[in-house]
Amino acid sequence: MRVHRAVFARGLRRYSTYRAATVAHVLTNAVFGVINATVLLALFAARPEINGYDARDAVTQVFVAQALLGVSAVMGPPLDLEDRVRNGAVAIDLLRPVSLQTWWLADDLGRAAFQLVFRSVPTFGVGVLLFDLRYPDGLLGWAAVLVSFVLVAVVAFALRYLYALAGFWLTDTRGVWAAAGLLGPVAAGTLLPLALFPTTVGDVLRLLPWASMIQIPAEILLGKDTLPGGSVVGGLALQVFWAVVLLALGALATSRATRRVVVQGG
């Protein structure tokens, strides 16, 4: 556990080095947030309610989505592990006396923690300043949102860990990212809130792991009854489900992959 704490702290510190990059990311997320929010405001001016969403819900979700882009990494970056599988440095990772998966989990949670504080908060803050957003009810509501955001980071890691392990079989994972970069943002609800999609499409996408990174946390913040089981608890349960399933798949894939590894000497 001490090792993991240290790796977590290093992950956090590493990202805190790139201050200009963080400011640039917040700026870009805020610009996209304002553009998307304005378009949706125009849309809801024409149709005050669509599938249970009103203008305020939609604009809030836009800023939740932009705020979570860093934590969830639906559009990247991939784990550093991915490159290490390709260039063979993963051999060193496998020599360590801790499991490959938990080592990288600690590292990526460090990254996510930094992103949550220094990217999500300011990006959402821009939304708070410029638009009329909806907020959770009371302390309990905020606590649920925080738990949900932490689960976003776990699901985000578990999914990208699987992408990275695909490298053991494919060597080059650019194809995986081409497919994930296409499906991920749409299924997560960053292109448009899933409530605007045709109902059946929206309902199916809500159950996929990507939705647990943007759409479900947004609905938890908004307190929507479209969540599984109709409540915040159901939404959190879905996120936990995906975190557990994807981590288990990752553990399984790790044991398969390490049996395949052939390390060339030199």
């Binding site: 700026l27 870009t28 610009v31 194809g175 081409a178 497919a179 605007l196 999609f197």
Partner: protein, 275 residues
């Protein structure tokens, strides 16, 4: 012996074509990869387009633009940005070249540095963005009630060329930020990809202040908004003079000059990292 100006002026484009072709041939060594990745890129463009269609489907009309007129605006914007991304998109990797020292080798080669930078890892994959966008534009032009006077027929290619040049200039000017802040390359995205996201919808949606600033400050209004007003023969709902719709070529020239100045200034202040 000075060469005639025409030959000198043609040299950068010829170098561009030759270098881009080299990259195409290299990528053609892996045809399956190339085809699959191109398909993914075009599917991505189609999803973006379906986002626009969903919004118009729910709203019916935005700022007086129906779904076909909306598709026209989207098509103009996505075609111009897609072409610019293909021709100049590689310049966004400037910071990476500076950090690795590869930029120094570009500076000593007998080809204009901007051409080298823009053709670096040129990929025909980006056609995957242009083709669906151009398709949408074609569908919209047929579906919209455009009064095809000879002036409009002749103006269409001029509008597309100006819009593409303008977008290329935006890309280059955005990349120049990395001469000052190499790690802040994402900031340029709010101008390039953000510019595309902004111009995909009729600009009147964003209100008068935004329309005025993207007309007179960063002239993105001339990518899709003013051309669409011209093709549809509509007055500007935000009350700007109709004469502006004849200005896209002027805006393109101005923006290209600004980008060229930024590039010159950036090159002049560039100090090698020494790596």
């Amino acid at each position: 012996m000075a060469e005639p100006l025409t030959i000198r002026a043609l040299r950068p484009p010829r170098a561009y074509v030759r270098l881009a072709w080299t990259w195409c041939r290299a990528l053609a060594q892996y045809p399956t990869s190339l085809v699959l990745l191109t398909v993914f890129v075009s599917l991505g463009a189609l999803t973006e387009m379906s986002g626009v269609l969903i919004v118009f489907g729910h709203a019916g009309e935005l700022a007086g633009f129906g779904v076909h007129e909306g598709l026209l605006v989207y098509g103009l914007s996505a075609t111009a940005f897609g072409c610019a991304d293909m021709l100049m998109g590689s310049v966004e990797r400037l910071g990476r070249h500076i950090r690795s020292g590869a930029f120094d080798t570009m500076l000593i080669r007998p080809v204009p540095t901007l051409v080298l930078l823009a053709t670096d890892q040129f990929t025909p994959r980006r056609l995957g963005k242009v083709v669906p966008a151009a398709g949408a534009l074609a569908v919209a032009l047929v579906a919209c009630d455009v009064d095809w006077t000879p002036a409009r027929v002749l103006a269409l290619p001029a509008l597309l060329v100006s819009a593409t040049a303008l977008c290329c200039a935006v890309w280059v000017a955005g990349a120049c930020v990395q001469f000052v802040l190499p790690e802040a390359h994402v900031a340029a995205n709010s101008l390039t990809y953000g510019g595309q996201a902004l111009t995909e919808y009729p600009l009147a949606v964003y209100g008068r202040e935004v329309v005025r600033s993207v007309t007179f400050v960063v002239p993105l209004a001339f990518v899709s908004w003013q051309p669409a007003l011209f093709l549809l023969g509509r007055p500007d709902p935000t009350g700007l003079p109709d004469a502006l719709r004849f200005a896209p070529p002027v805006a393109a020239v101005l923006m290209c000059s600004v980008a060229a100045l930024c590039w010159r200034a950036g090159l002049r202040r560039y100090r090698s990292t020494g790596s």
